[in-house]
Symmetry: C2
């Protein structure tokens, strides 16, 4: 029996392999972050969905570290009946569904170390007979620095690009643009949240790319997170900073809050469909600030960062 | 010619009187706040809407005061063609529209002084002949303390109730409930933003209440703002506080941000329809904080405040 036939016979086999990958990745990433932090460790909250709904998650948060002020690395494995809200919002048909993913947001203490977000997810839809009617992967990684170091931006984007190029050289430009187009505060002159990365969704197996290839693609992306981010942390974590940098960090974190609460589809959908609020909002920064009509002074490092948010750059 | 006939002949007469009231109220409130602050003064930004749209506003902000960390008292007088977005979102019919109102949010420095929000507005819709096809008033005032003083809550609600009782004793219970129902973070166990106040909308002249009575009603409400709020400021502004109170103030301000960006219809509508972002978001607090899964300790003053947000109280 080929694996393809096996999946058709029992759809649980493939999704169990995905769950195992996600849990292993959560362990690996948390361990890597604890090592570079050198002080704080992740605390795990296991939670289950309310009665009548299925599954739960492992929310891991770290606070008050030497490097990370607030970090969340969460996994969830959830399933249930397709509801009318889901049919409308996600434009899907089907009887039951399954979703499993890892989502992380890291807010460092030092304003010279960028905030970072990443997410890798897998979704299955089943017909009334319990057969897989549809399935797709999504994911992405994006960087939100407070100060711009071009070498860091290049390293980050190059690391992500190298992974994609192994599959298809057309992917990086497309997924880089998706990211620039998605993480935008449209109400702030279309300022991006940060300096981008990659973002993709609805990757379905087809005649060109089978399920196993997509699985390897997701694994390669997930495994590239630490190599893309940690060298930047290592390089910037001991930079000197003072009140000025903290104020700017808090202002930019205000924009992060605005994006997540006003525009991020995942956050809004999760909160409106009875998701676990604390796990969803772990993405919010530890501190944020709103100064009326703030503009960085011309020629400053703060303005330089803002300019690349207003005019996204091709870093490679 | 009776005034009623005059309005029918020239709809501009009534709206000009409303504009004058709103501008005068803005002056009065700003002056009262500057007096109690004792240090900072309001700075005015006059702005006009983009080409093709009509009107503008006077955004007045005060920052870094002895009493107020950040305060905004804004007026706007705007008009234009009814767009498809307006037809859908506001469920209105008509050719052109006019809106004028005052909106204020005050964030004090001292965590024992409550944040407060108020708004009074008037809307007119015209048919193709330029005649008034519909008109209504809306408004409200609500208090967001960080620590609960029952005498302050009673004073605030009683002041608002006294004004409403002069018109109809059935209004306060109804508008108080509207307020409790509206300012709710549904994603936070239906926690209210604060301890409420009053909230009303779509007050149209009819056989029982004519336009002049509604105008006097709005004036009475607008003029009750300072008497409702200032005595509380006076009583609490010199209270001693330390890090603990500041942290709690910042956490509660995080909830204020969540409500405004996730749930407040005015904020979301304004930002999605090309409103002036800085004037809309002046409502956001100067600083906010998000601690993962924060719960005040049992028996503390912080928990006492949270409990009245989870279970709204009839203060009178």
């Amino acid at each position: 029996m080929t694996t393809e036939v096996l999946y058709k016979t029992n759809p649980l086999v493939f999704r169990e392999r995905w769950i195992e990958f996600i849990y292993t990745l959560q362990d690996t990433i948390c361990k890597g972050l604890e090592l570079i932090d050198g002080k704080a460790i992740f605390i795990e909250d296991r939670w289950e969905r309310e009665e009548g709904e299925g599954g739960g998650g492992k929310t891991r948060t770290l606070t008050g570290g030497l490097v990370f002020e607030k970090a969340g690395v969460n996994t969830s494995v959830v399933f249930g009946k397709v509801t009318d809200t889901m049919r409308r919002s996600l434009q899907i048909e089907g009887d039951t569904w399954f979703a499993c993913g890892l989502s992380l947001v890291l807010h460092p203490l030092n304003p010279y170390v960028p905030t970072v977000h990443a997410n890798w997810r897998y979704f299955e839809l089943y017909n009334a007979a319990g057969e897989v009617a549809d399935r797709w992967f999504g994911g992405g990684t994006d960087l939100t620095p407070y100060y711009l170091f071009e070498e860091d931006a290049k390293h980050f984007h190059q690391t992500l690009k190298n992974v994609l190029d192994d599959f298809d050289e057309e992917l990086y430009p497309r997924y880089k643009k998706n990211c620039d187009d998605y993480f935008v505060n449209t109400h702030r002159n279309k300022e991006t949240r940060g300096i981008g990365g990659i973002f993709y969704d609805h990757l379905r197996p087809d005649e060109h790319t089978d399920l196993e290839t997509l699985f390897r693609f997701q694994q390669a992306n997930g495994n590239s997170f630490l190599p893309a981010y940690l060298p930047i942390v290592e390089k910037r974590k001991d930079s000197k900073y003072a009140e000025r940098e903290i104020e700017w960090q808090e202002i930019r974190r205000g924009r992060y809050v605005e994006f997540n609460l006003l525009h991020d589809r995942g956050t809004i959908f999760g909160l409106k469909t009875n998701g676990r609020t604390e796990s969803i909002l772990m993405s919010l920064p530890p501190r944020a600030r709103w100064n009326y009509d703030h503009h960085p002074s011309p020629g400053t490092e703060e303005e330089k960062l803002l300019n690349v948010c207003l005019h996204p750059v091709n870093w490679i």
